[in-house]
Amino acid sequence: MNLRPDPTFHASPKLAMQAPVENYAFTVMLSPDGAQSDGIAVVDLKPGSDTYGQIVHQVIVPNKGDEFHHFGWNACSSSLSPLSGHAFLERRYLIVPGIRSSRIYVIDVKEPLKAHIHKTIEPEELFAKTGYSRPHTIHCGPEGIYVSCLGGGGADGTDGPPGIFIMDCETFEIIGQYEMDRGPQDKHYDFWWNLPQDYMVSSEWGLPPQFEDGIVAEDLLSNKYGHSIHFWDLRARKNIQTIDLGENHQMALEIRPAHDPKKSYGFCGVVVDTTNLQGSIFTWWRDDDGKWQAKKTITIDPRPEKAENLPPLLQGFEAVPPLVTDIDLSLDDKYLYVACWGLGEMHQYDVSDPMNPVLAGKVEVGGIARGTAHPNGKPFAYGPQMVEISRDGKRVYWTNSLYSTWDDQFYPDDEGGQMVMADVGENGGLTLNPDFYIDFPKGMRSHQIRLEGGDCSTDSFCYPSV
């Protein structure tokens, strides 16, 4: 507890953009076959530092096979909410779930170079207290830390629907299930909200048997992955509306609401349209009658490719699907970054008009049957995946692994973990920085990135930018 609010808490997105730049990044390191323990890499981002762009510390956990994926903070700018008054929490701990083991680590990063495990929550405790498994997205909100889970109970996570649980933001005790009325929601992936407007939006990937051992082609072709987004009355904990994006829009993943809490819209990325292999972005918004709407506002076409150049999974299609696997929105709500993990491209869209996005920049690196090298000449395995934007919107970082078993199906010949950075032009545009290239330790892949002091997919703001 501090006497003053944590200096990394900002009332509005605009204030967060004006704050000092990030000094460190925390990036997931995962061992795809569980041969080594997973960990968090601490990357030096201090401008002018001798070790800039290098891994300067690692927190390696004692267990194996956790499979780290997404993670988040114990506290963010949402602590300045005038309703819950947790302004004196510290942004100090990273909540890091193992998506395969269901174990959760709380890592103390107060001193990034001495980051260490503060607490471990064993899977049995999670199962007993929530009935959920495979914890995933972390957000700090009213009443504590919210964690979405991809699995329900039982060995394969299909005993009961998956959902969100709440964790105490000071003791890290699991409090219990969030939902009071989940409506038709039976799968889960990501969620985010608008705190003053009191709504939450959640999305769907698939159930654990549909992803843990690799993508299930029959399920995909019969449209059995998630294709709906759910709107919730956040504080009443009720699903108030479900929008089916259409069953061909398979895997509705990242939910990115506008950061400015005055706005009532956001985006959702869809991995693949099974009718034409396109990747797409939907814009969702609340209309004048208070009903939620969603419309496809970006489509990205597949690239034709000879079967012989493709992994067995794609040979029958003779095309590389874009595979939109992550999206991220800059704090000024201006640029939406779209990772096309299959094509090997990172797109930057100007979404000033959220209903009419315009492609503003593009970078090619990696990619199926293309494997574009980094500008420094070194290889980039797989394609651009987890993307994170600096608070000021000037630097965009990304890594390359999607999910252990899926990497192996789409890129059977690739291996390795890389983290790169691109500079954003004054009026948009995106250029890979030739000097920023991190090759992860041998046998390790990389996934989500968190920036010290908060980034564009952690902090929820309670006051509009003015």
Binding site: R4, A11, L15, L83, P196, A236, K262, Y463
Partner: protein, 223 residues
């Protein structure tokens, strides 16, 4: 008589001071007034939000003071009631010192229901209790002067005093919180929202202990 007037003035001063004290505390809601005006992009939302917060706070004060005003017509138990009230207020302060966790249920209130939120926030933090020893002190002086009156008259007098105390306190709270909210909204900007936000948890709890102790002391030693 002169001493009584001085004590009376001091006690009313305490009512006003406690209002200012509650008003500047962000936990009693002025940031909600700033956010309402910004969210609605309309400066008029600020006084409207303040009025709703004031209504909730006033109700919370009345809800605590009224039971004491009803009890206080038992003139012969005056000292005991004041000591009991003092112990209760100290107890709340000690509880808040030991249990430093924020009441989670406040986060469940819909952001638009400001009066309800304000009522619950005041209740959860013992804001009304802080007024009890002061209020009982005022009633005690009144009782001395009107000791010959019928219990009925005395009680309605005490109830009237309860409403006046709650109103004066809420008014000074609203003015104090309103000034901070307006200065931040109109001139300083949101950057100062987090800068002016001080952790008053311990000070608040100690204030309760202090006010409770004062209540007991004044009950034992006359006002």
């Amino acid at each position: 008589m002169f001493a009584d007037m001085t004590s009376m003035a001091a006690l009313w001063g305490a009512v006003i001071f406690s209002g200012v004290y509650h008003g500047v505390n962000p936990g009693m809601g002025w940031p909600l007034a700033v956010s309402a005006a910004l969210m609605e992009q309309n400066a008029r939302a600020l006084p409207k939000a303040l009025a709703l917060l004031a209504a909730g706070h006033f109700l919370a004060m009345i809800a605590i003071l009224l039971p004491f005003s009803v009890m206080f017509f038992l003139v012969e138990w005056e000292t005991q009631i004041r000591i009991g009230a003092g112990i209760l207020v100290i107890g709340m302060g000690v509880y808040l010192l030991i249990n430093r966790r924020h009441p989670k249920f406040l986060a469940r209130v819909h952001p638009a229901r400001l009066a309800l939120w304000s009522f619950l926030a005041a209740m959860a933090h013992g804001a009304g209790l802080m007024l009890v020893p002061i209020y009982l002190g005022i009633c005690a002086i009144g009782t001395d002067e009107t000791g010959h009156l019928a219990a009925q008259t005395l009680m309605s007098g005490n109830i009237g005093t309860a409403f006046t105390v709650a109103a004066v306190h809420t008014l000074s709270m609203t003015v104090a919180g309103g000034i901070i909210a307006a200065v931040i909204y109109v001139w300083l900007g949101l950057r100062f929202l987090s800068k002016t936000w001080l952790n008053l948890d311990v000070v608040w709890a100690l204030s309760l202990v202090l006010v409770g102790a004062f209540g007991i002391w004044s009950a034992v030693h006359g006002h």
